[in-house]
């Protein structure tokens, strides 16, 4: 279970990215977070694994407090949370395998990973993760030689290699075309159903949110302005979250 209690994030410049957020997410949920860019979606996800430290309140992930955690505690929490990124964040100049192995960093002694002497079990886990996203044949290809969709699958495999209980996806399809976007969202949905991994996805696109989400959280200027079942969501809800009328730019497939 993930619990946000009165969480605030204020940046050094004084910008308040999150204001008094209360949120409870049960194990195995699939939550879509929507909001304009700058509404605090990325901050919400990154506060969960401490990449951006919360400046107030309390966040617990599976019972561990994240706010004010020590480095060792943070690493422990992060090892249980997989994360995938809008720009995939792969190391382009190395193989897909090495990228996926990064997901195993937390469990491998520092000297082994530094020297690149990964234990066989970790290699197997990485292979299994690649198999799950269906690109196992690309394991020894340089990451830069993959298409955008394939790169994002490597990103997902890297997160899966952590064998996480929570998956955070920060605008995972913003850089992809509509068809690939659906496939990647489908992958995430399947992983959530098959493995029971609690999944939070930041999305800008409303059609994808409707199609794949089960629970929807709406952020506006750092505050949660909507939290409910996707079936209860109307165009009016979106208008409220976005503070303006819906345009075609808000849809991944322009005609959908």
């Amino acid at each position: 279970m993930i619990e946000f209690r009165d969480v605030s994030v204020t940046y050094r410049g004084g910008v308040r990215a999150l204001r008094n957020v209360d949120l409870t997410i049960d194990d195995g949920e699939f939550v879509v977070v929507v909001g304009l860019s700058g509404a605090g979606k990325s901050t919400l996800l990154r506060a969960m694994n401490g990449l951006i430290p919360a400046t107030g309140g309390s966040i617990t992930v599976g019972g561990t407090e994240v706010v004010g955690a020590s480095n060792a505690e943070l690493r422990d929490v992060r090892s249980r949370i997989g994360m995938i990124f809008q720009t995939f964040n792969l190391v382009h100049r190395t193989s897909v395998m090495n990228n996926v192995l990064m997901g195993r960093l937390a469990g491998v002694p520092a000297w082994r990973s530094t020297l690149g002497m990964w234990p066989a079990t970790d290699r197997e886990a990485a292979m299994a993760a690649l198999e799950r996203v269906g690109i196992v044949e690309k394991a020894y290809v340089r990451a830069s030689n993959l298409s955008g969709g394939q790169q994002q699958r490597v990103g997902i495999a890297r997160a899966l290699a952590q064998e996480p209980s929570v998956m955070l996806a920060d605008e995972p399809v913003a850089a992809l075309d509509p068809v690939t976007s659906r496939q990647v969202m489908g992958d995430l949905q399947r992983i959530n159903l098959d493995l029971g991994i609690t999944t939070l996805v930041n999305l800008h696109f409303l059609d994808l949110a409707r199609e794949f989400g089960r629970r929807l959280v709406g952020l506006r200027e750092g505050e949660v302005v909507f939290d409910g079942d996707i079936d209860d969501v109307t165009d009016e809800t979106f208008r409220e979250i976005y503070g303006r009328a819906i345009t075609v730019d808000d849809l991944k497939t322009a005609d959908g």
Binding site: G82, N89, L90, R93, T94, L101, A110, S113
Partner: protein
């Protein structure tokens, strides 16, 4: 305003230095010129006279490139805000390297010769320091400019600092590292020509000895030889770099 200051300083500096245009044409009547020609190729290409010291120079350059570049790798990571483990390490390593770089290369050589005695050994030491300084300067700029996003991904996976940098940044910057390493090697060969001046070994010892006897024909011969060697190294390292990047 700034222009006036620059001009004024130039005038002052020119006066102190003893700027004298006439040198430019007097230089052609320098009695030394005839001592440069002809190049005694028989002497230059003699194994004992030049080629053995040249091999020694190669050994010195290889050893110091390896030592300098080896030490530069962790140091450059410690010196970049992106990859430094913490602020203290960042500031301390930056300050130390600034001081090391501020000491001219032959000053280092002279100091080390004083400390450990004349010879190839002191030369290797001096060039190691020199390699380290150059390499850290160049490579840390590369690390500064590395893509921070894979680093974020590695951190999000819960890795410790060292493995995170190793897996997230190193592969990205490795080709530049090797390219700069080759460049430093080339610089080391060039620098070894003058190392003899302070009593450090290698080809510089030959240059220095012949210079003292005013055998500039021999000095020129050695310079031409080194020029050719450096040219070959440049071509090889250019070919290697092309493959890397």
């Amino acid at each position: 305003m700034a222009a006036v200051l620059v001009v004024a300083y130039t005038l002052v500096a020119g006066r102190t230095v003893g700027f004298d245009l006439s040198t430019f044409w007097q230089v052609w009547s320098n009695p030394l010129w005839e001592k440069f020609w002809p190049i005694p190729w028989g002497w230059v290409l003699d194994r004992h006279n030049v080629l053995d010291p040249l091999v020694e120079t190669f050994q010195i350059a290889i050893v110091s490139t390896l030592i300098g570049c080896g030490l530069a790798l962790p140091l450059a990571f410690a010196m970049s805000p992106l990859t430094a483990p913490n602020r203290v390490v960042l500031v301390v390593s930056r300050s130390i390297m600034n001081v090391v770089r501020a000491v001219p290369d032959l000053f280092w050589a002279k100091l080390l010769v004083t400390a450990v005695g004349i010879g190839a050994f002191a030369g290797s030491w001096a060039l190691s320091v020199f390699s380290l300084a150059v390499m850290v300067k160049l490579f840390s700029e590369t690390v500064d400019g590395a893509d921070p996003r894979p680093l974020e991904a590695a951190r999000a996976a819960g890795g410790r600092h060292m493995p995170v940098v190793r897996t997230g940044v190193l592969p990205t910057v490795l080709p530049e590292y090797v390219a700069y390493g080759l460049y430093v090697f080339e610089l080391n060969i060039r620098a070894s020509v003058v190392l003899g001046l302070v009593g450090a070994g290698g080809i510089g010892r030959v240059v220095e000895a012949q210079r003292q006897y005013f055998r500039f024909d021999r000095v020129l011969g050695v310079l031409v030889l080194v020029f050719v060697v450096v040219f070959v190294i440049e071509q090889v390292s250019m070919a290697v770099r092309k493959r890397l990047v």
